[in-house]
Every structure is written in C-alpha cells, then in structure tokens.
Amino acid sequence: MSSALLSARGLMKSFGAVTAADEVSIDVPVGQRVSLIGSNGAGKTTFVNMVTGYLKPDAGSITLDGRDITRLGPRQISRLGVARSFQIPQLALDMTALDNMLVAAACNQGALSFWQPAHSPQRRERAMALLARFDLADHAERRVSELPGGVRKLLDIAMALAGQPKLLLLDEPTSGVSVEEKFPMMDTITEALATEQVTVLFVEHDMDIVTRYADRVIAFYSGRVIADDPPDAVLADEQVQRYVTGSARQGG
C-alpha cells in the first residue's frame, strides 16, 4: 500500500489484561477525513497515541509515506509531519494565545534562534493569520487561563496546524463543548483545514458530527476494528449499532 500516507499493520497493544489494540490495520490515503469512533476504552486514543509515538505497540508496524515510524518518539514523528491536538487542550496557560501560536509556529522551523525576537513583525503576522483562520484573533492578547474551554480547544488545534503537517490527529475536537457550539466549531475547523493539504484523523463521539464531516468512519470495539467504511454504511452496521452507537446514545 505505497499510496497510503499512513499505514498501520497488525498493531497490538495491551495494558495488563486489557487489550487496547488487537490486530489493528488501517491505511489512510492522502486527503481523507477519517473519523474514529467507539465507546470508552475501545482503543481509539491508544491508536492515536501509537501513531504519534506516545505509546509503542507490542507488535505490528506503522509507516508514514512508506517510512517506518513504529519506534520513533513524539518529537521525531512530529518532525516528519504528524501533528496532534489533545482531548484536554495542552497549552501554555500563563502565556497569551498569540504567544502560544508563536511558539507553535517557531517550533516547526528547525533550529530555534537564540537572538531573533520571537515577536518580530513577520512572525506576529503569520501567527495572527493562523489565529484569524480559527476566529481567534480577538483573543490574541489574552492569557490562555482566562479563555473559555471552546476557545482553548480551537487554539489547541490551530497550534497543531501551525507546522503545516501532512497528517493531523484530533483527539475529540468537540468534547467538553456545548451542543450549540459543536457545529459552528466543526465548521470553523473544516474551513481552516480546507485551505491545507492535510489528511485528518479525528476521534469523535457525536454521530451527527461524524456523518457530517467524515469521508470515512472506523469503528473500534475492545481494541479491534469492527467496521471501516463510509459513514452511512458504518452507522447502519449491526455490530456498530450494538457496540458503539447504542451505548453512545445510552451514555449521552
């Protein structure tokens, strides 16, 4: 599968008696929007963590653009063009939104300068443009600790996108955001991503969001992939209804 951007083969991972990944094989071609669904503990985040190098699989391999990244750490994988956002936004709380963005933009530019000002006009302009794409320009000068949750989530994603990654993994982009805010937020994200040639994998619990924004849905159940098709087909799948969407509705 050399045409795939990301290719996972036979991934295995267990934590004690819990199997978080059981023979997971996924190929993702360039440009696709893939949603990962499944109930808590089904193995979605474990998959994201293995792709980004936070966890090492017990067996199996992961390649990016044909290059083996199975044993690499988060830093090396990030440098190869894989960025991620976090379920709980990982930001510098005592810094402004703009400073966070400046950091994200600088980190992907190779060696960090010891003397060039972080706040040079060009850098600021670039960072402000990125913030503006996520409707965050008004919050630029505010400390992150003063910003509401939804804004932090957007900033977290904007930072992931700053390095123009090939592959972007979003871990529950709309979790912790109110129902009314979810769709506008996903619209903002989709619009921001539209101008980028970026392949997206996102973990999501809300099936309405999944149907609307994903090209393809992969359903997990106890570490296994139980369905991998376009949204309609997956949501119509009997196993998915029993193990994923059914329980999600009960829970929601």
């Binding site: 400046l102 972080a118 850098r123």
Partner: protein, 322 residues
C-alpha cells in the same frame, strides 16, 4: 525604535553608563557592596534562565566555585593577571565543567533536578575542602589583578573592579534579555508551562534545558570569578549549599520576568546581609526568612512583576489600537 534588539542594547548601554557614573559618587564600602551584588546577581540570573524553562538549580554554588577557583588558579599558576581575561576564563571553565552534567540533569524536573544539582555542588565542596594544593578549607588569597595591561592602585581598586563587573555583567545581562525575548526564549517559557505540548511540536525539551543549564553555568562562573577578584580570596564555601540557597533566594525574590529585578533583588539582599551582620549577627537569617515569606505572599511572581506586568499591559493596549 522598531528594532527590539537595538532597543535592548541601547537600554543595556544606558544602564552601564548610569551605573559607572553612580560608581564615581559611591563611597568605598558601597562600591564593594555593589560589586558583590552585581557579581552574585549574575549567578542568580543563571537560575532565572533555568526557571524560565521550568527548573530550579539548588547547586549553583557549583559553578560559582568553579568560576572562582578557575580565575584564582589562573592568576596563581598560569600568570594571567588581567581582570577581564580572568573573569571570562572563570565563566568558560564553569561552563565546561557543567557541560558533562547537562545531558544527565536535563532528564530530571522539579525536586529531582534541584537535589541533583545540590549533590553535585556538595561533591565539589567535599573535594575542595580535602584538596591540599588548593588551600583546603581555608582556601587561598589572590593578588590584585591588572586591567587591560595597566596596574590597579590600591585606592582605585574598588572602583576598577566595580567597573569591570558593571561592564561585563551589563553586556551579559543585555545578552540574556535578548535571549529571553528570542524565539528560543519564548519556547523556553512554553516548556515551563507545558512540556508535553512543546515535545509534540517537535522540539527537544531536554536539549533546551541542557542548553540553559550550560548558559547558567557560564553566568555563574563569571559571578564567581568577579567575586574572587573583588574579595582577593577564594574558599570552598563558594560551593556550600547555603551559598547556593542565597542565589535561589535572590532569583525567587526577583521573579523570572525581569533581568533588572535580579540585580535589584541581589542588591537588597547584600544590603540586608551586611547591615544585619553588623547589628544583629545572630538573627539576620531570621530577617531574610521573613522578608522572603512576605515577598512570596504578596508578590508571588517576584519584584519584576511590579513593573513588567504593567509594561506588558501597556504594550498590549498600544497594539490593539494600532
């Protein structure tokens, strides 16, 4: 001025000139006290650099002593007499000595980093106390240096060494400010706030901390060398843990936002120390302790936050308008 580096340099030159002029008016005791405050402030500024990347060293006595002994030994055995060369030599020696520890230490955070640095400084203390050739626990004296080839007379010694300290420290403090405002400086602050995120952005956090550790060692070595030249004496106490503690004290007092605050804090501590030593020699630590408690309670972000927060707010307002 639009170029921030030029603006910082100008401020640095201005501060150097102002301090030199002030030095001309100072009585001898104040000159000496200021020289101590400036050179000790250099060590604390190293700690501030480390604080800006989220770690605190409780063992900067290690580099303070390394720089001091290097300068003293160069003067005694290598025939080097020039004050500037000796000071820079002290800084380089401290940085070189710290270099092999940097990769190890940069893997630790919080109390583990602090305790490991403390341990290293106490090992050096132990070696220095037992070392016959370096004077053991008494240390040894260092004769008065020359300055750029010229002899320094006894009357002008205080001012000459003050001037050397002001110029060298002024240049290094300016460089540190530029570094603090640089791309790497901002990433350092982000490391302090959220290491995980920075690592996921593709930057090696431990490497950044290791770099700051070596910088801090260089600054600490400079401080040690300047102290030795001004005091004319070196002893193992330079590496003792209470010495390291005072440097941390000053760094906390100053906070990590302003370089100027470091020297202000250092000066305050020197003044309190020398007066308390004189008038209530047995309880002066008590006064210092209370002082620190008050600062932590009412100015948790340090003296520097008094004006840096206001400056930042003004800058933000200006940019919103523009």
């Amino acid at each position: 001025m639009h170029n921030p580096i030029a603006r910082t340099m100008l401020a640095g030159v201005g501060a150097i000139v102002a301090l030199m002029l002030a030095g001309l008016l100072m009585p001898k005791w104040l000159l000496f006290l200021s020289t101590m405050a400036i050179s000790h402030g250099m060590v604390s500024m190293g700690i501030v650099l480390l604080m800006r990347s989220g770690v605190v060293s409780f063992g900067q006595g290690f580099v303070f002593a390394a720089g001091g002994y290097a300068a003293a030994l160069l003067a005694r055995h290598a025939g080097v007499n020039d004050a500037v060369t000796l000071t820079l030599g002290g800084g380089l020696a401290a940085a070189l000595l710290a270099l092999p520890f940097a990769p190890l230490l940069s893997r630790y955070r919080g109390i583990f980093f602090a305790m490991l640095t403390l341990a290293i400084s106490m090992v050096l203390y132990g070696i220095l106390v037992k070392s016959e050739t370096m004077g053991g626990s008494d240390g040894f004296n260092v004769s008065r240096p020359t300055l750029l080839g010229a002899e320094i007379s006894a009357e002008s010694a205080n001012f000459a060494l003050y001037a050397v300290a002001v110029v060298l420290v002024g240049v290094l403090a300016t460089a540190s400010r530029i570094y603090g405002d640089s791309v790497r400086g901002l990433v350092s602050l982000a490391i302090r706030e959220n290491e995980l995120r920075v690592e996921y952005l593709g930057v090696s956090v431990s490497q950044a901390i290791a770099v700051n550790f070596v910088f801090a060692a260089f600054l600490g070595g400079i401080g040690g060398a300047l102290t030795v030249l001004a005091q004319g004496h070196i002893e193992p106490n330079f590496s003792y843990w209470t010495t390291s503690g005072e440097f941390v004290f000053v760094a906390i007092l100053a906070g990590h936002h302003s370089m100027l605050a470091v020297f202000l804090a250092s000066f305050v501590v020197e003044v309190v120390r020398s007066f308390s030593n004189l008038y209530f020699p047995n309880t002066w630590q008590l006064a210092m302790g209370l002082f620190l408690l008050i600062v932590i309670r009412f100015l948790p972000r340090g003296l520097g936050s008094l004006w840096m927060d206001r400056l930042a707010a003004r800058r933000a307002r200006k940019e919103v308008r523009a």
